[in-house]
């Protein structure tokens, strides 16, 4: 009986597969015709899949707000054609991919990264085949595996970011602590989730001859930080560089405060140390701490066009100060807008032409609200998204102290605790 069943199943399967083989070519042709049918004066859709549920809801909504505000500031249209954002929820990798396919099915052909860029690795390999234009903010080192016409990394990459953090530490050491790179001792504390961020940092340290006095990679569910802080206390170092998120950064800093331990100098490497959550810990803890981060909305007003307008309107509309995340989303929509401006609106639906326009973009530093410029290398990675700032917490606000052209205040090192 079973054999018979198997036999029938297999033969049907074979028959069906030959049928399908003939028809599969026609289905792809159908896809193209449906995409070209949506032409002309219809609103042009930019899609973003960002976590609106799950653990990253907060960052996901910052992205959504930033993109919305960007469209509002552009007046909702470019060259006479309406543009609008379309949002979808992508709490994890698989859901993001599913939503991507769903939106594609509904005719979306232009996407920008959402918060966390969960499935950008997958998209990096497949958008060429689908002729979808994808502007990514993912920062993984090996994100782009080869030449692509449709996938662009517009944001920074992690190597620039974290080796940049090392460089900042060294220059602070030289300027304010009077120590050469060779004499500088750095302690690194991070959750093992950030291994990919810390790796280039360590490499850079090796190259510059900086001594890593302590390297602690704790598991991401660590609750008790006393042993690690005790280790720090017993280590001789000049600068502490923590790579932490909200879940571990807050308890770590609180515990240090309770144990009445203040590191000689802290340079937080972004992620958590430049957020309002950190400033909620109170000035006692935050004052004097430096943080390397992406360009924030709080920089010298003349340095980047429109950053002040963004900051003020954002606060008016959403009720809180924007984080750098919101600025990222705002920025990437603006980059896309620049590309759209250079193409005839009737041809926007032809992603090939649009992608070529993106590739040709050449924008200098400071022309966009996020300060970064745009210029793609042969792997479509933006080479002008390599400037990071160093901020210092001063009386509850993060003042930009480096580089010189963006700074709003001079750094105070060493910080005298009151």
């Amino acid at each position: 009986m079973l054999k018979k069943t198997i036999g029938t199943i297999l033969s049907t399967f074979l028959l069906a597969s030959t049928l399908a083989g003939c028809a599969s070519s026609s289905s792809s042709a159908k896809d193209e015709s449906s995409s070209s049918s949506s032409k002309g004066s219809e609103p042009f859709k930019i899609s973003m899949i960002t976590p609106l549920t799950g653990n990253n809801t907060f960052g996901g909504n910052e992205f959504k707000n930033g993109a919305e505000l960007a469209i509002e500031h552009l007046g909702g249209e470019i060259n006479g054609r309406k543009i609008e954002m379309e949002f979808a929820d992508g709490p994890d990798q698989n859901a993001t991919l599913s939503e991507f396919e769903r939106l594609y099915n509904k005719g979306s052909r232009v996407f920008v990264s959402g918060y966390g860029s969960g499935a950008d690795r997958t998209f990096a390999t497949m958008v060429d085949e689908m002729q979808v234009l994808y502007l990514s903010l993912a920062w993984d080192k090996d994100l782009i595996q080869g030449k692509s016409d449709y996938f662009y990394r517009v944001g920074a990459n992690v190597v620039d970011f974290s080796s940049g953090a090392m460089d900042q530490a060294v220059s602070v050491g030289e300027k304010y602590l009077g120590k050469d790179a060779k004499d500088l001792k750095v302690a690194v504390v991070y959750t093992s989730n950030f291994e990919h961020i810390v790796e280039p940092f360590k490499e850079r340290a090796k190259k510059l001859g900086v001594k890593l006095a302590l390297v602690e990679a704790y598991p991401n569910d660590t609750k008790d930080f006393v042993p690690i802080i005790t280790k720090l206390k017993n280590t001789d170092y000049d600068i502490l560089v923590p790579f932490q998120g909200v879940t571990d950064g807050t308890p770590f800093q609180k515990k240090m405060h309770e144990l009445k331990y203040t590191p000689p100098l802290t340079i937080g490497a972004g992620i958590y140390y430049d957020t309002p959550v950190f400033s909620n810990l109170g000035n006692d803890i935050t004052d004097g701490i430096l943080s390397q981060s992406y360009v924030t909305p709080f920089i010298n007003e003349e340095a980047a066009k429109g950053s002040k307008k963004f900051r003020e309107d954002y606060k008016k509309k959403y009720g809180h100060d924007p984080l750098t995340h919101a600025l990222q989303a705002y920025g990437i929509v603006n980059v896309l807008a620049k590309a759209l401006e250079s193409v005839d609106p009737a041809k926007w639906d032809d992603t090939k032409e649009l992608a070529a326009a993106v590739k040709k973009l050449d924008i200098d530093y400071g022309e966009l609200p996020w300060y970064w410029g745009v210029s793609f290398d042969k792997n479509n990675s933006n080479t002008k998204a390599d400037k990071f700032i160093l901020g210092q917490w001063n009386n509850g606000s993060l003042e930009t102290v480096f580089p010189d052209n963006l700074k709003t205040k001079d750094p105070i090192i060493p910080w005298e605790k009151k």
């Binding site: 799950g54 653990n55 809801t57 602690e216 609750k223 042993p227 690690i228 909200v246 609180k254 144990l259």
Partner: protein, 291 residues
Amino acid sequence: MGIDTFINIILNGILIGGVYGLVASAFTFQAGALQIVNFSYGSSTMLAMYLTFFLIKEWNIPIVFAVVILFALFFTIGWIMRRTILNNTNHGTQILTTMAVELVIINLVIIFFTGFPRDMAIFEKRINITDTISVGLTQLICFFLAAAVLVSFHLFLNKTWAGMSIRAVVQKKEIANIMGINSERIMDLAFSISYLIIAIAGIMLMTMFQVEPHFGNYMMTISFLVCVTAGIGNMGGSFLSGIIIGILSALITTLLGAQFHDPVLFGLFVLILLVRPNGLFNSSKRIARQI
């Protein structure tokens, strides 16, 4: 590193370990004495923490009322869970259904409280024993509170009528029935009381740690560890082995480095399971029947 550093680290480990012991004791009571395996255990603790935070910090309810509300709520949750999904004796069904409950709890928390980490924003005072050795006041209070809760629970089981009938039902259900005890009712009561312990543990953890929706996973693995080390069902032992785990986890981080913490601790856990599945302190197989 000096000797006082080690004393500091070990003291800290002992104090945190005591709270781990309390957290695990409710699990060990459920699994060992009541024969109910509750995999929504960690997330129940997490829920207690979130509720503590919201009752006190956000809704500004006086602490006494907040505690009463929390207790009433958790007693009811325990009662409902036992009546609806845990009134069978099959471990497989229990594990599956309670894992489903865990998903429900986590996602309800995300819907109502968002996934954002919450923190009571209390700074702990340190008591200096000598110049270099100090302990946290909150931790110290929690440690003694945990011990007190466990002792009073022990007294409750041994001295009160309700406690004794719980033990009677746990030991010989049929005979207890004959003696006129409504064994189903008593099991409901026992399970609900174990949920009170979870509520107490949640309040304590909230004063010490920051909570996020997946906090329960960690508490769950810690409870497993503690239970297995002590032997499932051994409540006094679980307090002791909680302390051992606390010290051990602190020493692994200090001596080997934080990156070895999880692999070493969990590896040890599997090893203990294989070598001494009845716990380090017991050799008898009847441990599951002890309270």
